[in-house]
């Protein structure tokens, strides 16, 4: 005797199907909000698009010409180099600082960690452009707060031109950026730390593992996935840094802080408003971010087996 098969609508859903249906609303929203502009920008990138053409909606097809022009432009390569340096510094610093700070605020025995947990979020609430302006005042050569503190502490004798010196400007812009975006990474690492079973540490301690060994062999492997996610997200955002550049240096001095997003913005939104070329440069940037994300996922993101 065989059991009668239930009709499809009364059957238990497989985990895969359930996951698919749960993701459909999000996929639809993302499709509407993100996919359309992304596809449209791709369309613009292979057409000649100025202000008049955009208004009329009539574009001449140019093929890969806009991409060629971008890749031929020495300024694009300078901007890309600066972007890479900026990204390596900011993302690297954020990962290290986020793990350190998350470990500290994870110490529930220390009551100040609760206050710190709240305070640490404040920079994240500051609008990026306001953050840029605040730091541009701090960096001011003759009247800035930073130079005043260093001078008062006897660390410098002459004011330092933080944002106006080509040797320091790019590094100067990384600091406000890290300051603003670090809380995001801290929250993620902190959440991941709280998900690590306490008994793992207890067993390791019974087996004689010291603090460093527990960190090296339990915490680090358990954080690997969240670190991969932070790397992907923060790299994507750091590649697109714009507001701090706009508020603090506007690309200067010289080309010291020209970054890729600033390049795309200037090409597209400053006269003669070459939206086609601006879109092409943005697409090149997006492609690079995609490749880097794949590399991260391939080499950093691994399932944890203990």
């Amino acid at each position: 005797m065989t059991a009668r098969r239930r009709p499809w609508y009364r059957r238990e859903m497989s985990a895969g199907s359930f996951a698919f249906f749960m993701n459909v609303p999000t996929l639809l929203c993302l499709g509407l909000v993100l996919a359309y502009p992304v596809i449209y920008a791709g369309y613009l990138s292979v057409h000649k698009v100025g202000l008049a053409q955009l208004r009329r909606g009539e574009f001449a097809f140019t093929g890969w010409e806009n991409y060629g022009r971008v890749l031929e432009d020495p300024l694009f390569w300078v901007a890309l180099k600066n972007t890479l340096v900026f990204t390596v510094i900011t993302v690297g610093s954020e990962i290290v600082l986020a793990v350190m700070i998350a470990l500290l605020i994870n110490q529930t025995s220390v009551w100040t960690s609760r206050v710190t947990r709240f305070l640490i979020l404040l920079p994240y609430a500051i609008p990026p452009i306001a953050n840029g302006l605040i730091w541009s005042f701090l960096y001011s050569f003759q009247f800035g707060f930073l130079n005043r503190i260093l001078f008062s502490a006897g660390l410098i004798t002459d004011p330092v031109n933080w944002a106006g010196n080509p040797n320091t400007a790019l590094y100067a812009v990384t600091v406000p950026y890290i300051w603003r975006t670090l809380p995001f990474a801290i929250i993620l690492v902190h959440a991941a730390l709280q998900g690590i079973p306490k008994d793992l540490y207890e067993q390791a301690a019974i087996d004689g593992a010291n603090a460093w060994h527990r960190f090296r062999h339990i915490t680090v492997p358990m954080l690997r996935q969240i670190v991969a996610i932070i790397l992907v997200l923060r790299t994507a955002f750091a590649f697109a840094v714009f507001e701090e550049i706009l508020a603090i240096t506007q690309g200067g001095p010289g080309d010291a802080t020209w970054v890729a997003a600033w390049y795309s913005y200037k090409i597209a939104f400053a006269p003669p408003n070459n939206f086609g070329m601006g879109s092409a440069s943005a697409y090149i940037l997006a492609l690079m971010i995609g490749v880097i994300a794949l590399v991260y996922m391939r080499f950093v993101y691994r399932r944890v087996t203990l």
């Binding site: 300024l75 506007q250 690309g251 070459n274």
Partner: protein, 452 residues
């Protein structure tokens, strides 16, 4: 009782007659003086519900103008106001997105590009347009008239001047400011040596269209040079005045005399005036004349009243420009848009250049109209901040910036200016020489043309 009523009635009748006569006389005199009867006082035939303008921020002038327009014509005016740097982006994205824009404004650098892209409505056929054009100052004409057509009305005009701090000059025992560039260096070196000022010159060399490039254009023009000839050929080659000027300029920074304030590379016009107000520099310039209304404003400057205007060496020639308002091709109704444009850049219903007069009195801005520049409004309005006859003397020696750098009429001027900002800042910070800088800029003309 009845007599009283009669007396009152007779008195009232007399008054009515007298009043009527008075009104008639007033009407006739108004027409005779051409105030109310001018085209600016005549309403367009079409009907519109509302109008709008897209402008960059300046105090509360636009709120006042919108209110006045609504009160005079019964048409509501919406305003979209952004910062000066964000304005071209705001305007172009609104235009590209198909939004209605009646009136907007432009710097002289963006304007040829806006005209070329079909964003600007020609205005020759509008009532009273010819009269405005006749009243334009010489360099306003060079901005607002394109290929002989009237394309806009002036927002303000300005001329490039020097400023100096009188107390510091007295302390150095110099009886007058520099008359030559050699003397400028000599005075600054002494100021530094005597410990009166660590960085005697504050240049306006922040990234921009008029800031860093404007300073170079001005000094090159003053020394007898220019950047492009009438045929559009560059004048940046070896031995050119522009190149030699840049060598001289770079020498005032770190690697040479070390008399230029490093903050120069960041400051714009307003921030430069505020920084100069701290009283740490001897000279500031050359740049827009109206910076004096910050340096000499007690509310904004600790050295207010001690900053004076100074002309340029040699024959004193300098540069000037004018910013404009215009009707966009995305307007609702051209006649009404023209009416609104006049409230911003021309005459209001009462026949006065209200905006130009207010800007002169409140902000020391120059006007694009000869009649306003020659009026007492300028003489009295500017007086609290500077020596008006001296400024007007400098004004008379001004040439339009487009004569010095004719590339401003070309669509590639913006990307090329990006490179000017980059290369010249590299030169001023000692990363490259003036020769390399100019060679890069010559090569950069072709690069910029590829971005159009």
């Amino acid at each position: 009782m009845s007599n009283d009523i009669i007396q009152k009635w007779e008195l009232s009748r007399r008054r009515v007659l007298g009043g009527a006569a008075g009104l008639g006389l007033a009407g006739a005199s108004g027409a005779a003086f051409g105030q109310q009867a001018g085209p600016w006082a005549v309403p367009p035939k079409a009907k519109v519900d509302r109008l709008n303008f897209v402008v960059w921020t300046y105090g509360d002038i636009y709120t006042r103008i919108a209110k006045q327009f609504e009160a005079d014509w019964g048409v509501k005016v919406d305003s979209t106001i952004s910062s000066f740097n964000d304005h071209p982006t705001k305007l172009t994205t609104m235009y590209a997105a198909g939004e209605k824009i009646d009136v907007s404004q432009s710097s002289p650098f963006s304007f040829p590009n806006f005209v070329a892209q079909g964003l600007v409505e020609p205005l020759d056929d509008m009532p009273g347009a010819a009269d405005y054009a006749k009243d334009f100052t010489a360099f306003t004409k060079q901005v607002a008239m394109v290929n002989g057509k009237l394309m806009g009305l002036p927002y303000f005009a300005t001329s490039w001047v020097w400023n100096y701090y009188t107390d510091m000059l007295e302390k150095l025992k110099f009886d007058k400011p520099f008359a030559t560039y050699e003397e400028l260096i000599e005075q600054c070196v002494k100021a530094k040596k005597d410990g009166v000022s660590r960085y005697p010159i504050l240049w306006i060399a922040g990234v921009g269209l008029e800031q860093l490039p404007g300073t170079w254009y001005q000094m090159t023009w003053n020394k007898g040079g220019m950047f492009f000839d009438k045929q559009g050929n560059h004048m940046l080659g070896a031995g050119s005045i522009a190149r030699e000027t840049l060598k001289w300029w770079a020498n005032t920074f770190e690697k040479g005399l070390d008399i230029a304030d490093p903050e120069s590379l960041k400051v714009q016009f307003t921030s430069g005036a505020k920084a100069f107000g701290a009283g740490k520099n001897l000279y500031r310039g050359p740049n827009h004349h109206y910076g004096l209304n910050i340096c000499n404003d007690p509310a904004q400057s600790p050295i207010a009243g001690k900053v004076k205007v100074h002309g340029s060496p040699g024959d004193g020639r300098t540069i000037a420009d004018a910013h404009v308002y215009f009707v966009t091709t995305a307007n609702r109704n051209k006649e009404w848009a023209w009416k609104l444009l006049q409230y911003l850049g021309g005459k209001t219903k009462d026949g006065n250049y209200s905006q130009a007069i207010n800007l002169a009195k409140d902000a020391m801005l120059g006007s694009g109209f000869t009649s306003v520049m020659n009026s007492d409004v300028i003489k009295t309005g500017w007086a609290p901040w500077g020596d008006v006859p001296e400024i007007l003397k400098i004004w008379d020696k001004s040439a339009y910036i487009g004569e010095v750098c004719s590339s401003i009429y070309q669509p590639w001027h913006f990307p090329w200016t990006d490179q000017v900002n980059i290369e010249v800042q590299k030169c001023l910070t000692g990363q490259i020489t003036a020769d390399v800088c100019c060679d890069n800029l010559i090569k950069g003309i072709a690069d910029a043309k590829r971005k159009v």
